[in-house]
Symmetry: C2
Subunit: 208 residues, 2 copies
């Protein structure tokens, strides 16, 4: 792994796709792959694959390509999957519930360690194997269970308040599904997952 600094978001965001495709190749018992053929699989030019990977280290072998198993492990390490991040979901509506049951995340090493809802009727219920906590206990539970990442799936008008409480309780990363522009300090990583964008984009291109 080379440097920590100045690697663009857009580059980092391609790595999960690479990781997943390598997983598939591994399951298909493919040992090695060239930038050329890998690029065709994921839909990018070979040069971009090489450039992306070279940003993080010398993972390839001239004349051969990349060893699937090795490259996958390296990308996993770059992405920090071995860190075992604890995540909490705030807002157990339909979307929160769906994310809570999403198996892919567990496969990548994320541990769903707590879920919360404001509705007194839901507290104590258990979708999956976690009890829904009261919002009143947010700070305490977040600290006790050492939550690193907060997933916000509450209505837009509550999102900033939830974010503020999460950050005050020590959370360092926020994955925001609420339709709201959140303000967070610069040392906090905020990822906005705006589901309407994709659908609007489809509407636009179908219209033109």
């Amino acid at each position: 792994m080379r440097s920590n600094n100045l690697i663009s978001n857009i580059t980092v965001n391609r790595l999960p796709l690479y990781y997943r495709m390598l997983d598939r190749l591994r399951m298909e018992c493919v040992d090695g792959v060239s930038a050329e053929s890998f690029g065709q699989l994921v839909g990018f030019k070979a040069g971009q694959i090489r450039k992306d990977l070279a940003t993080f280290g010398d993972f390839g072998r001239q004349g051969f390509g990349y060893v699937v198993r090795e490259l996958q492990a390296n990308i996993g390490n770059i992405l920090g999957f071995h860190r075992g991040w604890n995540i909490a979901i705030i807002g157990m509506g339909h979307l929160g519930g769906a994310l809570a049951s999403y198996r892919n995340f567990a496969d990548l090493g994320f541990r769903l360690a707590a879920v919360f809802d404001a509705d007194p009727g839901k507290i104590g219920q258990s979708p999956g194997n976690l009890l829904i906590n009261s919002m009143d206990d947010l700070e305490r539970v977040v600290q006790e269970r050492d939550i690193h990442i907060g997933v916000i799936t509450v209505p837009g008008h509550n999102a900033q308040a939830v974010a503020d409480r999460l950050l005050a309780a020590g959370v360092k990363g926020i994955w925001n599904f609420a339709p709201a522009v959140l303000n967070v300090p610069s040392d906090v990583k905020l990822v906005n997952e705006d589901l309407s964008v994709g659908l609007c984009s489809l509407s636009y291109y179908l219209s033109h």
Copy 2:
């Protein structure tokens, strides 16, 4: 509205955010807004706001700014919200169910017109007010209900087959939530919504 061609994805993708912020301003009874103050609200530079909007028309008034109501209507038209797109969700798992109940989409003019699942046990059930259709009836129902956009929320290994069937039945846009790289003809608009990317991105930045 100016030209149809050559407007970048990245520009179009900012419009939904603008639209939503204008909706908020409208509800707060704000009549006009300058690029400067609007930019602060959505988190972009004023020049970018002006450039984005000028791509589609002359919506502003010198010395004043933009009329909130007017600009929102214009952006809505650009994005094609008035078209009344019919959408179908294929795969009524947790995620499909969450999307089916997402009110935001209906607010933007999208109509959920059909849902499908492969599990015989689910067929005939009704989450919301739609009966779950059998996958066997996909082509027939898609054609009968004039589905424009297919939302794929099936397991990755089924996604390509579902996409192929949707396209053969006349669908022109695909919103893909399955972790799979789909191949579609160039006249079809494909939007990939890869939920793991956001979480992986958080993991990366928390690690470095």
